[in-house]
């Protein structure tokens, strides 16, 4: 009996490993199972990879499309010169990568959502009421102009990235006056994201900061292609400038699909992922823009809020995504066990998230289940 005891004690551990083994994980590398040709797959390819307009840069211009089903690659295609080893710019998908990095710090007890940002980033003493959670909901209340191309003169984000803010993007953001009380309204702001990136330094300490995204997130996930550019002050440009291959970005998607678990390790607390996937409480859908995704905790949600329909009618309501300028997307459909990475160079508005998700589901998840 006493001989058996260690085995009995070890049993849950063994069973735990078995369930992790039964799942497919890209540890160390992705496994692939090719999907057979089908009309649904042909329709997806026709949508994502039409003849590419290089002269006028119009239409859908996909650089990479990767579909993972239940931990295995079922589809992968690139448009030259982008290829499987290209570390592609994520643009604003970096914001969700920052949130996921912060999730590890959250699990280590480095901060709480209701702590003032100023505790970690002293220049925010000018905005003492702004909490970490407000920034993650893009609800700092600061008077920020996010327009990129239509109002370049007064765009806060263009000034931050390229002119007046580039030496220290968080400090540039902190100089903006408050327009409304923190938490009162959603206003998409790359400045909020870069203040979070600066606050991370205060959370983990100067010595750990430079490597933190790697030690906390990229290394445990086996991501080896990541580049994260800094501003003039050495702060990660959390809003915009992370790069990695499509296969590596899909690792982050799989982590999120499986509620923050990587193999046997709960890398992100489940409560953190739940926060990422909770709509910002005071979000009001924009009139006349029914397809705008709903802000969660630095991730985008296909949630039906405030009486509005879900933004992507043909995707499940629990779908969520990291999204970036010019068509970048990392979509997670947890129930369908789908992770989709799309890198692109879309210069007009013709690409539709809903259409892509509809076609991917038709090709890889059996029937479309809206």
């Amino acid at each position: 009996m006493s001989l058996l005891k260690p085995f009995v004690l070890a049993l849950p551990l063994v069973l735990g490993s078995l369930s992790a083994l039964a799942e497919s994980w890209p540890i160390p590398d992705w496994s692939s199972r090719g999907a057979p040709a089908s009309p649904a797959l042909a329709a997806l390819e026709a949508y994502a990879f039409p003849p590419r307009d290089e002269a006028g840069r119009t239409g859908v211009r996909t650089d990479a499309l990767l579909v993972v089903h239940d931990g295995e690659i079922v589809y992968e295609r690139y448009a030259a010169p982008t290829h499987a080893a290209t570390a592609h710019l994520t643009w604003s998908m970096a914001k969700s990568l920052l949130a996921t990095t912060l999730g590890v710090a959250y699990g280590q007890g480095r901060f709480r959502l209701d702590q003032p940002v100023a505790e970690f980033y002293p220049p925010f003493a000018a905005h003492p009421q702004v909490k970490v959670g407000h920034l993650l909901n893009w609800a700092s209340g600061l008077d920020w102009q996010e327009d990129y191309e239509y109002a370049p003169l007064k765009s806060s984000v263009v000034a931050m990235l390229y002119t007046r803010g580039r030496a220290d993007m968080a400090a540039f953001t902190a100089q903006h006056p408050a327009a409304v009380a923190p938490g009162a309204r959603f206003r998409y702001s790359s400045g909020d994201s870069n203040v979070l990136a600066a606050a991370l330094r205060g959370m983990v300490g100067e010595a750990a900061y430079a490597d933190y995204p790697w030690t906390a997130l990229f290394d445990p996930l086996g991501i080896d292609s990541a580049v994260w550019e800094r501003d003039g002050a050495g702060t990660f440009v959390g809003s915009s400038y992370a790069y990695m291959t499509a296969r590596d970005l899909a690792r982050v998607g799989l982590l999120m699909q499986r509620d923050g678990r990587w193999g046997e390790q709960q890398l992100l607390p489940k409560a953190w992922v739940a926060f990422n996937r909770t709509p910002f409480a005071n979000y009001l859908p924009v009139a006349g823009k029914p397809h705008e995704p709903v802000p969660g905790g630095h991730w985008w949600l296909n949630a039906a809020v405030a009486g509005a329909a879900k933004p992507w009618p043909d995707a499940p309501v629990e779908s969520f995504a990291a999204l970036g300028h010019w068509g970048q997307g990392l979509y997670v459909l947890p129930r369908e066990k789908l992770v989709i990475v799309r890198y692109a160079d879309d210069r007009d508005g013709s690409f539709q998230h809903n259409q892509l998700l509809k076609l991917v589901q038709a090709a890889f998840a059996g029937e479309v289940q809206p």
Partner: protein
């Protein structure tokens, strides 16, 4: 004056409004000519030395409505300088993890 020279008066008024708008937006206007060259230097540098894309692809990738007057790609030093609207900006590749950054020194 207004009755004798209505068009001149209107023109003066328009100039006055423009000057007021310009003064009101002076911070934005001063930085505006820097955008195209700074954007091009930074994004070309990252396209070439972070994403490792071909030079001709990156050249097309950063093309905007406002043309560049010059683009210098120093492949040995991984430094890119771009000029437009009378302003020049420089981006420098740092290392494997931190990619490119705009630098002020020429």
């Amino acid at each position: 004056m207004i009755r004798r020279r209505p068009w001149l008066s209107l023109l003066l008024l328009a100039l006055l409004v423009l000057a007021a708008l310009g003064w009101h937006n002076r911070v934005h206007l001063q930085a505006f000519p820097d955008i195209v060259s700074a954007y091009s230097a930074k994004e070309y540098c990252s396209c070439r030395y972070v994403s490792d894309q071909p030079a001709d692809y990156c050249r097309a990738y950063v093309t905007q409505y406002v043309p560049l007057s010059d683009l210098q790609d120093d492949a040995a030093g991984k430094r890119v300088s771009a000029s437009a609207l009378g302003r020049t900006h420089l981006a420098q590749w740092r290392d494997q993890r931190s990619g490119c950054v705009l630098v002020s020194e020429q």
